[in-house]
């Protein structure tokens, strides 16, 4: 048992470190280090512009989309090399946020189901940051139940005509391309009538509207489709096989090992170590210590769980299912920590001004943003289902709509 690199890993790490040291946009280092929670912002620049420049530089140096094949703009690196790169890229990895959906989900789907011509055209552009991709799956009527989606695609000659609405689409407002799942046959059970496409987000009839979120920010969008024309050549997988194609996409979403999820614990520990209350330092209070200790072991438990997965990768094995607990644990932890940090401040805990010295508004922001952590990318409840069914082998829920033609499924509860 040890935490050491193998000789090959050490060599790769030193190569990556040297390149990053020589090329990283160091002028943003301090700013990026500070933004550990919530939205990443730069004071004077647009994060997407800075991100695109960094991505381009990486692609030119052969450090973009590392685990992709070289002919599609990647490096052909092993999974453990990708993890090492992420560790070394450190805070600059935050600049890659706009490309993560493309690299992690859309790209792999195109790679698995696209034509060779499309792969050679689109994937290198995605890898170099020239194109940003978004994923158009969720709908108002299909969140956790993605297969309940209603966006229609109808065949007309060599094209498909798309009408409908998507929601929660991160980055749609700056995306060039989108991965789109549609219903092509409403008269068969819901999982069977779906078809996957990709499209140019500048197509006529695509309208992106930002959603104002509960925390006051705007990170997600609604995307409306009105008679949008998509050539049949941009279909991914067979007609009616969209559900299986989407599983490839989502499987890649859950493979993001090594990307550390924020728990709020380091911030909370520092906060409690310095907060003076009427009874002395917050960290000397037994009730606070007990809570801190419980959060500490959750944070360290997640850290060492990811180390176990990295060790599997290092040995060339597939990581076990342990990593599925990450978001489930960290999401509610952020919420609990924010609530307690504010509790410690009494009535002043409600104040959010940046000049509030005690916490500089960070826990208040965490409180307001944390509900989304427990919903986006699989709700806590869906994640528990996944653990119960795929890890523990418990039976799936009884699905009353499974064999019913989609058009006959009720749309209202009452």
């Amino acid at each position: 048992m040890n935490f050491d690199d193998t000789p090959q890993e050490a060599e790769f790490r030193s190569l990556a470190r040297k390149w990053i040291d020589a090329n990283a946009p160091k002028q943003y280092e301090a700013e990026l280090s500070k933004s550990s929670l919530g939205r990443i912002r730069l004071e004077k620049e647009d994060i997407v512009d800075v991100g695109k420049a960094w991505q381009k530089k990486k692609a030119d140096g052969g450090w973009a989309c590392l685990h992709w094949p070289k002919e599609y703009g990647g490096r052909g690196a092993s999974p453990i090399e990708k993890v090492i790169w992420q560790q070394e890229e450190g805070v600059y990895g935050k600049l890659t946020q706009p490309f993560q959906i493309g690299e992690g989900m859309c790209g792999p789907t195109v790679m698995a189901f696209g034509s060779e011509e499309h792969k050679r055209h689109y994937l290198p552009k995605l890898a170099s940051g020239e194109h940003i991709w978004c994923q158009l799956f969720s709908e108002p009527a299909g969140g956790s139940d993605v297969a309940g989606l209603r966006t229609r695609a109808e065949k007309k000659g060599d094209n498909w005509i798309v009408n409908g609405q998507k929601i929660w689409t991160s980055g749609a407002h700056y995306s060039d391309c989108g991965l789109l799942i549609t219903r092509t046959d409403p008269n068969v059970p819901k999982h069977k009538g779906l078809t996957m496409f990709f499209l140019d987000m500048k197509s006529k009839g695509v309208e992106v509207r930002p959603i104002k979120q509960a925390n006051g920010m705007q990170e997600f969008n609604e995307v409306y489709f009105t008679d949008v024309v998509i050539p049949d050549s941009q279909r991914l997988g067979a007609v009616g096989d969209g559900w299986n194609v989407s599983l490839t996409t989502l499987m890649n979403e859950r493979m993001s090992i090594g990307s550390r999820l924020a728990t709020g614990f380091p911030e909370m520990f520092e906060f409690c170590s310095n907060l003076m209350t009427d009874d002395g330092l917050a960290i000397d209070d037994p009730a606070t210590r007990s809570k801190l200790a419980s959060w500490a072991v959750k944070a360290s438990g997640l850290k060492y769980t990811s180390y176990r997965a990295i060790s599997s990768l290092s040995k060339g094995e597939r990581p076990g299912p342990e990593n599925s607990i990450g978001k489930l644990v960290s999401g509610s932890m952020l919420q609990d920590i924010a609530t307690y940090a504010m509790d410690l401040q009494g009535a002043a805990g409600a104040l959010t001004g940046a000049d509030e010295e005690a916490a500089r508004g960070q826990f208040q922001q965490m409180l307001l943003s944390s509900p989304s952590m427990r919903i986006a990318g699989g709700t806590d409840e869906i994640l528990r289902n996944i653990i119960a069914e795929r890890v523990l082998g418990l039976p799936g829920d009884i699905r009353v709509d499974k064999d019913v033609p989609f058009s006959k499924i009720p749309t209202k509860g009452r």
Partner: protein, 375 residues
């Protein structure tokens, strides 16, 4: 990075699991539970023959001379099997104290007997309510004899010798506490078994009356040695707790698959599924914290105090959580004596207290993290 046990260590775990499945089925645990024996003597003998009692004892003292990682994988299996033997008190506490602080002669006297299963050892620390602290120790040492009362002492009624924490001065300073080695069969010590929530692991009251004792470790270092012993035992016991958590989770999962209600397996109801998923989460967090503890223990790393506390807290929480919800998944049947669920519930809650309670270790963790941050 190789943050995992080696293939040889995993093989050892498999052997231990096989051995315990055969020699320590729930039926055997129940013999002790029902008071028919104070511990499973046959199993104890078998563990000695397998070499499990002397894993970390050097070969010159009759042990296998292996490392703590090997002991961790055995500990996990002992917890999984709910083994009704004085393994933790003898191996994690008494043997560790001897290895850390024993003189050559003391090691020579006791370690071979531990490895061969001839001697059961324990640590006599507590004196009634309270967590480990020099303040709580009143038992007096003077002129090579001890006078006072210790309770609860794990396996105190069946132990042959004990490491005893005693007072040599009158202040609350650490240096006024020293450790002594006492042959419990040599007279001067009266042992009275105490009833406790987990009858498969005995507890006792030991009364020392002019009991002969020899110092263990240098004068003035008693508390420091004791702290190290507790940290080491915390990691090892945490592995037992992780083994118990996994077993409780498996029992719940298996029952949820078998039991039909409302025309379907109860494991298809989300209320049940989610309970089991949460058990998996806490068991996984505990396992990962324990691996870190195992690394720190096996390399004697500076991180050991913090890692041990984290492993202990996480594993205590997981075992309590899993054993409690295992009963819940079983419904009414889980509350019967006949089903095994309560044996794990008892063990989980008794183990949670043996080295100092959860709140004690929470306190320790925060202190140790602050110390590290200050450094």
């Amino acid at each position: 990075m190789n943050f995992d046990f080696s293939d040889e260590q995993k093989q050892m775990r498999d052997e231990a699991r096989k051995f315990l499945a055969e020699k320590c089925p729930p039926k055997a645990v129940r013999e002790v539970l029902d008071g028919k024996a104070p511990y499973d003597k046959e199993l104890w003998k078998g563990l000695a023959e397998m070499g499990f009692l002397g894993i970390t004892i050097p070969e010159q003292f009759g042990g296998a001379g292996a490392g703590h990682l090997e002991l961790c994988v055995i500990a996990e299996e002992m917890g999984r099997a709910n083994a009704p033997v004085p393994f933790s008190s003898t191996v994690y506490l008494a043997a560790e104290a001897l290895l850390l602080a024993g003189s050559e002669a003391q090691k020579q006297k006791w370690l071979p007997k531990i490895a061969s299963g001839e001697a059961i050892g324990t640590l006599a620390l507590f004196e009634g309510k309270g967590n480990p602290s020099p303040k709580t120790i009143k038992l007096q040492a003077s002129g090579g004899t001890l006078n006072g009362v210790k309770k609860p002492v794990p396996d105190g009624a069946i132990a042959d010798f004990a490491v005893v924490a005693a007072r040599t001065g009158s202040t609350v300073r650490d240096s006024d506490i020293a450790l002594f080695l006492v042959d419990l069969k040599a007279g001067g010590v009266e042992a009275k078994p105490l009833t406790n929530i987990d009858p498969t692991r005995g507890q006792a009251e030991l009364t020392f009356t002019n009991a002969k004792a020899e110092p263990l470790g240098a004068a003035g270092e008693g508390w420091s040695i004791l702290t190290q012993v507790l940290d080491r035992a915390a990691v090892l016991l945490a592995f037992e707790q992780v083994g118990g958590s996994d077993r409780a989770l498996e029992m719940g999962r298996d029952y949820a698959l078998d039991r039909i209600a409302f025309g379907r397996p109860i494991g298809s109801f989300q209320a049940v599924k989610h309970m089991l998923a949460d058990m998996y989460v806490s068991a996984t967090l505990a396992r990962s914290n324990c691996y870190y503890g195992a690394w720190a223990l096996s390399t004697n790393a500076a991180e050991l105090p913090e890692a041990a506390a984290a492993a202990r807290i996480s594993a205590t929480q997981a075992f309590q959580h899993c054993s409690k919800n295992n009963i819940q998944v079983h419904g009414g049947m889980g509350f019967t004596w006949e089903f095994d669920c309560h044996m794990y519930y008892r063990r989980a809650n008794a183990t949670a207290l043996t080295l100092g309670s959860l709140s004690y270790w929470e306190d320790q963790l925060i202190d140790r993290m602050r110390k590290k941050n200050a450094a």
